[in-house]
């Protein structure tokens, strides 16, 4: 029976008929695959003898919809990206929803369709899930958790650890930093600025696949989310015990992000992203990797922004556009709450 309710009620979460109708009409309809349609307690997945990457993430972004995406798209891309930067090919996702009583069902449908679309684009199936409904006020509209499984070839196993990173390697970035955080800020309507800023929320899996092919010895990959690219650079320096030298003039710039940051005193290097990856690549491969990145939309503004050195280990030094140098330190304090 088709439930004609417009809003989620607490009954949608009680395991009964209405919940079943919700699951059928919204989730199964959108995610539609054999594993999920089976509706068993666990999805039984055939996986050949490879290394499995497994990750999870929860999404509580506010506002739910913003230029360039929504919480659903974010939930899928975020987890896919975590798998991709580990060198894995994503194959399956789970999706758990915690929904506040009173939530508009058409809005839920929009979010879920967005997730289905992103998953399809990346060739990934959402094979299992869960739905809970809580009383009004017990969560803010909707929270989503996604977990993901991917497969990693042996040759890519070390990417997550960065064990191959060495002095002379080049640091690559696929585009201008700060777009997601500033788009969120702009949508929240604080500070009254108008711009065409869009979140860079996207699945990086296709881009990373090509990058891995072009460089057989990828040293390290990480997607920059909260804390911005500065945080990732510091992570690399710390984890791999190397020094990094970055040239500010080589970092791609989104003018709108730059303007908003100039006005409000933010540094784009610390602002959140949802579609940016930093790669550490062997010097001899750097140009080839850059070439393949330029051929894709998500990498068209890619650049070599610096290199790895054995000086000032554990620290990232930024050569500023004025010619001087300063340390790019770790982020202290949250500039923008609940941006992912």
């Amino acid at each position: 029976m088709k439930d004609t309710a417009r809003h989620i009620s607490i009954h949608h979460g009680n395991g009964g008929v209405r919940m079943k109708a919700l699951i059928d009409d919204i989730f199964l309809h959108a995610f539609d695959n054999d594993f999920l349609n089976n509706q068993s307690d666990s999805a039984i997945l055939p996986v050949t003898g490879k290394n499995i990457a497994f990750t999870t993430d929860s999404f509580v972004v506010d506002p739910l919809f913003f230029p360039g995406g929504n919480i659903g798209k974010l939930a899928v891309c975020g987890t896919l990206n975590d798998l991709a930067v580990s060198g894995a090919r994503p194959i399956y996702l789970s999706a758990g929803f915690i929904i506040e009583e009173g939530f508009n069902i058409r809005t839920l449908e929009r979010i879920v369709h967005s997730m289905a679309k992103e998953a399809a684009v990346s060739g990934v199936k959402i094979v299992t899930g869960d739905t809970k409904v809580v009383n009004s006020g017990k969560c803010d509209k909707i929270f989503i958790n996604t977990s993901g499984i991917g497969l990693i070839d042996d040759m890519h196993l070390s990417i997550g650890s960065g064990i191959r990173v060495k002095s002379g390697d080049k640091i690559l970035l696929n585009g201008p930093p700060g777009e997601h955080g500033m788009a969120i800020m702009q949508t929240r309507g604080i500070f009254n600025f108008k711009s065409n800023l869009k979140s860079d929320c996207v699945s990086l899996s296709p881009l990373i696949k090509r990058m891995l092919k072009a460089s057989g010895r990828m040293g390290f990959l990480r997607d920059a989310t909260r804390g911005g690219i500065a945080t990732v650079l510091n992570e690399i320096a710390g984890k791999c015990n190397v020094g990094l030298e970055v040239d500010e003039t080589c970092i791609p710039v989104n003018t709108d992000v730059r303007v908003m940051c100039e006005l409000l005193g933010f540094d784009p290097l610390y602002i959140a992203n949802e579609g940016k990856v930093i790669a550490v690549v062997d010097d001899s491969d750097a140009d080839d990797v850059l070439k393949v990145m330029h051929k894709m939309k998500t990498g068209k503004n890619a650049a070599i922004i610096g290199e790895v050195t054995s000086d000032h280990k554990g620290k990232t030094v930024l050569k500023t556009s004025a010619g001087g140098k300063r340390i790019l330190d770790e982020l202290v304090g949250d500039q923008l709450p609940r941006i992912c």
Partner: protein, 364 residues
């Protein structure tokens, strides 16, 4: 200009020009001198761009008390919080103030304890908030010098015109000249001042005449881009080497000799001067701005009857001496151990324009 270029900004960041000016400074500068910049924006720009690298060893740059957050007393934060705890109050503030520690809490910390705090970019947003929330009392925390004081004044005049009775100002606004003169009379060697560009846009050159005349110091009004600052230092070095002190203006594209009369008129109408407490400088006569009698109905100090206990500054915190250039952040016992950007003790560490925060973040 490469893509992402901004007019009137990029031309003043040219690294070749920076190098050239730097060479010129090194050529001319002989004496061992100290130059003080008194504006948080300058402190920030110098360190963000690594400009210290371009100066010869005999030129020392001191960071003065120009960060409005740094000079806001602990008491001001405590007072704001006490007001915020009153019924139906929404505190509105510029972003940087939220992490400044009071004697116990910062505004950020009390947010979770039932005090409503909203960050705004413009004081007019606070006024809008008052219009939209007629049942609440909106209190704007007025910090800053002669650049932001006119803005607060404009907001109060609008509040009066539009009959917005639920808007209040808690003023910690201050004016520069008395503090600069106190510094000139002090013990620290200060041969010249990099004068704050945006304060000067409002005030004009007049406020610095005592510094050059009576106190024989060099003064150059400076813009905020790397080229501006280095050029201003060059001009200061020239004055000091030649012992010819006058008020010079590097920031001519924005600062006029007469300043902005319209802004000053509003400021003088809405505010009257009073003695004020500066963190570090102590009490400086006639340096604070208080809401004048004509607009007393918007004065938060009069409207809200709250108890603000007297509290001592944290032991071993030498923000005061750092703000007056007497000591460096590295001289402080608490620096980087107890007092860090994550757990700041004094305002110098909290404000992104504070000497200690910048020292911690940018010093290689």
């Amino acid at each position: 200009m490469k893509s992402g270029g901004l007019h009137f900004i990029d031309e003043f960041r040219d690294k070749d020009v920076v190098k050239k000016i730097s060479r010129e400074i090194k050529k001319i500068s002989r004496k061992r001198i100290s130059i003080m910049e008194v504006c948080g924006g300058h402190t920030m720009a110098i360190h963000k761009n690594g400009l210290m690298d371009f100066l010869p060893d005999n030129v020392t740059l001191l960071s003065g008390p120009g960060c409005p957050v740094c000079v806001s007393s602990q008491r001001f934060i405590d007072h704001s919080i006490a007001i915020g705890m009153s019924q139906d109050v929404i505190l509105t503030t510029y972003g940087d103030l939220v992490r400044v520690p009071g004697s116990v809490y910062s505004l950020e910390k009390v947010k979770g304890k039932g005090v409503e705090v909203r960050v705004v970019y413009s004081v007019l947003e606070a006024l809008e908030t008052a219009k939209k929330n007629k049942k609440k009392k909106i209190v704007f925390l007025g910090i800053g010098f002669e650049t932001t004081a006119p803005a607060s004044a404009a907001a109060i005049i609008q509040a009066e015109k539009q009959g917005i009775g639920n808007f209040f100002l808690l003023s910690a606004h201050k004016i520069m000249p008395p503090a600069l003169e106190k510094l000139a009379r002090g013990e620290t060697q200060i041969d010249g001042f990099i004068a704050p560009g945006h304060v000067s846009a409002i005030t004009g050159y007049g406020i610095y005449h005592k510094l050059t005349g009576l106190y024989s110091r060099a003064v150059v009004i400076s813009g905020f881009e790397p080229v501006d600052i280095l050029q201003s230092i060059l001009m200061l070095v020239k004055q000091i080497e030649l012992k010819r002190f006058k008020v010079e203006n590097e920031y001519t594209r924005v600062v006029r000799p007469e300043g902005n009369l319209m802004a000053r008129t509003l400021m003088n109408r809405v505010f009257k001067t009073d003695n004020a407490e500066w963190r570090g400088l102590g009490w400086v006569p006639e340096s604070g701005l208080e809401v004048s009698d004509e607009f007393s109905m918007f004065d938060a100090t009069l409207y809200f009857n709250v108890n603000v206990p007297d509290n001592e500054s944290p032991k071993d915190c030498i923000c005061g001496e750092i703000l007056t250039g007497k000591k460096k952040p590295s001289d402080c016992k608490l620096f980087s151990g107890v007092c860090t950007p994550v757990n700041p003790v004094g305002a110098c560490m909290v404000s992104s324009e504070g000497s200690c925060a910048i020292f911690y973040k940018y010093k290689p």
